[in-house]
Amino acid sequence: MKLLIKKGRIIDPSQGIDQIGDLLVEEGIIKGIADDIPSDQYTKVFWAKEKWVLPGLVDIHVHLRDPGQEWKEDIETGTRAALYGGVLRVACMPNTVPPNDTPEITSYILKKVEEKGYVKVYPIGCITQGQKGEELTEFGRLKEAGVVAVSDDGKWVAHSEVMKRALLYAKQFNLAVISHCEDPTLSQGGQINEGFFSAKLGLKGIPWSAEVAAVVRDLLLAKETGQPVHLAHLSCKEVFPFLRWAKEEDIPFTAETCPHYFCLTEKEVDEYNTLAKVNPPLRREEDVLAIKEALKEGLIQVIASDHAPHSVLEKEVEFSLASPGMIGLQTLLPLSLTLVKEGWLNPLKLTECLITNPAKVINVEPPSLKPGKKAELIVFDPNKTYVLGPDVIQSKSKNTPFLNKELQGITVLAVIGEKVWEFNQPV
């Protein structure tokens, strides 16, 4: 089968191109890009005028909740949400039940992906057994089973020597190390950002120092071990002087943020809105601004969703009982588009943050529109506006502060090899 995508804006960070043109896919393989490719009667033509043609996004911070919490999400629904969001590869966090700290769990995930999954899934294993922060997991056997990175996810490895061992051992097996930087001795019991709203709502605050203290410790260990640390979902402005310092010192690190940290502020939690409860917490206007600047400066290289599905059972409860997190696979690109609209990043830079840079973090070759590569691409309409109703959301859970809000930008077509999905468009 031939698929000709015509007159789209082709943006491919793997080749550094951003041009209007045609792209031809034949038998699931990219044939080429040119100004004008003629079609014949055997060619399916997709008209992509004023739309973006991109390699599929790579989201390295996703919770699929499978095994163990399938009422929130499972591998089928989570990867379907990814597909609809134009995310054709996800790395899934290990805080399942039980956590992904053994090769058996990794194999279960990959087997289920093979049977039910829509997109490519890279499992992330735990750093320590049971995420307890004490004993390392079997990095070697996890790697053999298919793990690309290790992380204790929501739990920062507080014991510094254990973390140092993990970095050294990860280096030996070429595994990425992802750190959720929050010092629990400062953040424990915290519900929202420490400041105006923690005062107003009487909820225990999480100060920015919890994040910065953890980041600095991790950078020191990265320097000492030579193993890069990937700093997940940074949220506050006070962290960036230290990242600048780390760059000057040639400390190996990569840094990530999520759309909610540059699209929302702590105001969202007013009136005890549990949909806006997330770790790290939403912060102030000045943090939102600093994150945009850090993306522009290149201090942050990766945008991930931190897709964290929770059902009404975990969200329609007292604030302190509510689980933190929000879904994000389908809003990743629409919300990130803000950065282009406001002039912080050009589309090519933005796609680096969403495609090539995250792939580099987990040491995999990024999807590409180069001739000869397997087709792994999306067409995205950056102008389409629509309401993110529950019917639009493909996840089992609908927990997002953007629920029923208007969004701009939507994936209209996805191609993986010979499989082509053309999505019905919401109104």
Binding site: Q191, G202, L203, F319
Partner: protein, 322 residues
């Protein structure tokens, strides 16, 4: 004054306007007279069912609401977490829905989690009165404090209120800070520095220019104050004791006659109770002529009558007073 407008809930001082606060105080003053009658009871809320939902221990507040409801002839169901279906794992929302099905028309709730009253107000479609939620607010305590001050001093404008103690974990402090400022007073707080609002949190409490100040020196807070409110040193809300020792606290933050020499002549001394005598208050200050601690308790009944009446009837007082 529009006494016929019917607020739906009393969730926190933050969401009450100064007009609403004033109307509660006026109604409270009127209703207080009922409590002085030979038979201190009127039939206004006869047959109405009020549930007192207490997820935390309470003596004063629970009895005060109970007394207020009964003085208006309402029926009450008192419910404490121990010995109920909560121990079987029933959720707060289900509990309230069930009580509503039983016939409850209004819920008074005390809960260890901040925002629990707001949560049921939003989801259970029943009037809710917050009787203290975690470290958030205790609005009826602030209203009774205001009523006590109004009785004694008449007006709030320009008064200096000093609040001493663990501001961070005190829902009473948070409600008082807002309530006194809304009525035109200025509020100075002091206590151990780490139990005061952080610089980041201060902005929230400063609702009028010059109306709020954090003092590291307790003397600065109490000097020339018109009202001093001592807070209870809370032990149960901290995981571990946050006070180095009671002796240390008493020495640097406790009130004795020596500190009371700094306040204005005739200034009021208040405490929301229960008091740790010998810690935040030295036993001798019970003799201070302008301590109004039991007046506060008495006014608590009147103000809670006003709240119940307003929420259940819109505050039509005619039939009550005549």
């Amino acid at each position: 004054m529009d006494l016929t407008s019917k607020p739906q809930h009393v969730l926190d001082i933050a969401s009450l306007s100064s007009e609403e606060i004033k109307s509660f105080l006026e109604l409270g003053e009127t209703l207080k007279e009922i409590l002085k009658r030979p038979i201190p009871k009127v039939p206004t809320l006869r047959g109405r069912l009020i549930v007192l939902l207490f997820y935390e221990p309470s003596t004063r507040t629970r009895f005060s609401f109970d007394r207020a409801a009964k003085a208006l002839s309402a029926d009450t169901l008192t419910f404490s977490a121990k010995g109920s279906s909560i121990e079987k794992g029933e959720s707060l929302l289900d509990t309230v829905k069930n009580l509503k099905a039983i016939g409850a028309e209004l819920v008074v709730i005390r809960h260890p989690m901040e925002g629990a009253p707001h949560f049921i107000a939003k989801n259970a479609n029943i009037p809710v009165v917050n009787a203290g939620d975690g470290t958030h607010e205790h609005p009826t305590q602030a209203l009774l404090d205001l009523l006590t001050v109004k009785e004694r001093l008449g007006d709030f404008t320009g008064l200096k209120v000093a609040i001493l103690g663990d501001i961070k974990h005190s829902r009473v402090a948070k409600s008082d800070i807002l309530a006194f400022q809304k009525m035109g007073a200025k509020v100075y707080v002091s206590g151990p520095a780490y139990l005061l609002p952080t610089p980041l949190e201060e902005e929230y409490f400063r609702i009028y220019p010059g109306g709020f100040k954090i003092c590291y020196d307790p003397k600065e807070a109490i000097r020339d104050a018109d009202i001093v409110i001592a807070l209870r040193v809370q032990r149960e809300r901290h995981g571990k004791p946050l006070i180095p020792s009671f002796t240390e606290y008493q020495t640097f933050f406790g009130l004795t006659f020596k500190e009371l020499e700094l306040i204005k002549e005739g200034a009021l001394l208040m405490h929301p109770g229960p008091i740790n005598w010998g810690v935040e208050l030295s036993p001798e200050v019970e003799q201070y002529p302008f301590q109004v601690i039991l007046d506060q308790v008495e006014n608590g009944v009147a103000i809670r009558m006003a709240i119940l009446l307003k929420l259940l009837t819109g505050g039509k007082t005619y039939e009550v007073t005549h």
